[in-house]
Symmetry: C2
Subunit: 213 residues, 2 copies
């Protein structure tokens, strides 16, 4: 694949494109113009053309984009064909929700299992996965070369558990703890889910709308 610099903003839009293209494929649509795609996504055609131009040519003037080819390419760029392995650390409410509802496989990830420190939860079953003992986590990560850990432990233990994961050789942490983790110097990638950021964005839109009325 041709590599060129792709800006962070474009990267952040790629999952949205992928979801849209998924939908179009399910509807049996084979080609779509930048105008129609923009219309459905609330983007300008020129923005779409610019985004896609970062990673090669998918459209032909006047013919639109090939939905399947574009889907495949975006999935490849996002690394979804690498089948990264994932474990979950901390089976509280969020952990439960992810194991039960999140389609890891659909997005190209291999979910290997969940770990918990609370002895009353170890050995219980969630959506077919038997919760494993946090004491075995380090060996499991090493034996299975686990790529990604989902961190969903209580806030006070977030940094301590992250440090342990980093020490075990994890490559990335998907952080649900709302704690800004310090992973400096480790080379470990941290991706945060900040619920508050999303609610504040909503608040802004609501606020602006109220003033316009």
């Amino acid at each position: 694949m041709k590599k060129s610099y792709i800006s962070n903003n474009v990267i952040r839009r790629l999952p949205r494109y992928l979801r849209k293209l998924d939908e179009l494929q399910k509807e049996g649509i084979e080609r779509i113009s930048s105008g129609e795609l923009g219309n459905q996504m609330g983007l300008t055609p020129s923005q779409i053309r610019q985004d896609f131009s970062c990673f090669g040519e998918f459209g032909q003037q006047g013919y639109g984009y090939n939905v399947r080819a574009l889907h495949r390419e975006i999935a490849t760029i996002l690394g979804l064909r690498k089948k990264f392995s994932v474990i979950l650390v901390g089976v509280g409410n969020i952990g439960h929700a992810l194991i039960e509802n999140f389609s890891f496989r659909q997005f190209g990830f291999r979910f290997l299992g969940a770990f918990e420190i609370r002895k009353d939860l170890v050995g219980t079953s969630i959506a077919g996965y038997t919760v494993m003992d946090a004491a075995d986590q380090d060996a499991f990560i090493k034996d299975n070369s686990v790529d990604i850990a989902i961190l969903s432990v209580p806030r006070p233990s977030a940094q301590r558990v992250a440090d342990k994961l980093i020490g075990s050789g994890i490559k990335a942490i998907w952080n649900f703890t709302d704690v800004e983790l310090d992973a400096r110097g480790s080379g470990v990638i941290i991706e945060n889910i900040h619920f508050a950021d999303s609610l504040m964005t909503l608040s802004y839109m609501l606020s602006v709308e109220g003033e316009e009325q």
Copy 2:
């Protein structure tokens, strides 16, 4: 407040600035330069100056930004001083997690309570809130002029429940269902939490890093 057009990208960055400024205030820091702020946030000083220039002047050349004033202004822009009211609809795992862990008040929201259709959950208590019957939801929204509904119901009922909320006069929906809701023509604001988008972004970073090594 002077109103000027603020781009979507800037808006999306404001919550991050707010979190950072919160932190700085807690550390007792009163002023910070765009250089130092950029350094701590992984942004260039010119990006920071450009972002803040959208909504007035907070810095003085050579003196840096007043942390408190900047915090106050960003909170105002985000509508956090309007004390928007919030209810939660659907107390599954995600609903539970939000009621128990999310600091609505810290971010300037008034959390009024949670609704559920499952009779075995109605009347139970979560973090001090008694779960209310979904049958009373419509009247509650009207009586209390509720601004925001958090939608955390199972996927198959997402659109139906959203339609009901819209009919009740809700102004915005914070959508955790991973269903693209159709609210066209209603003027209701939809803000989606897409877990998958975040994991795909992480996957991209991991993928690129692997290829660079």
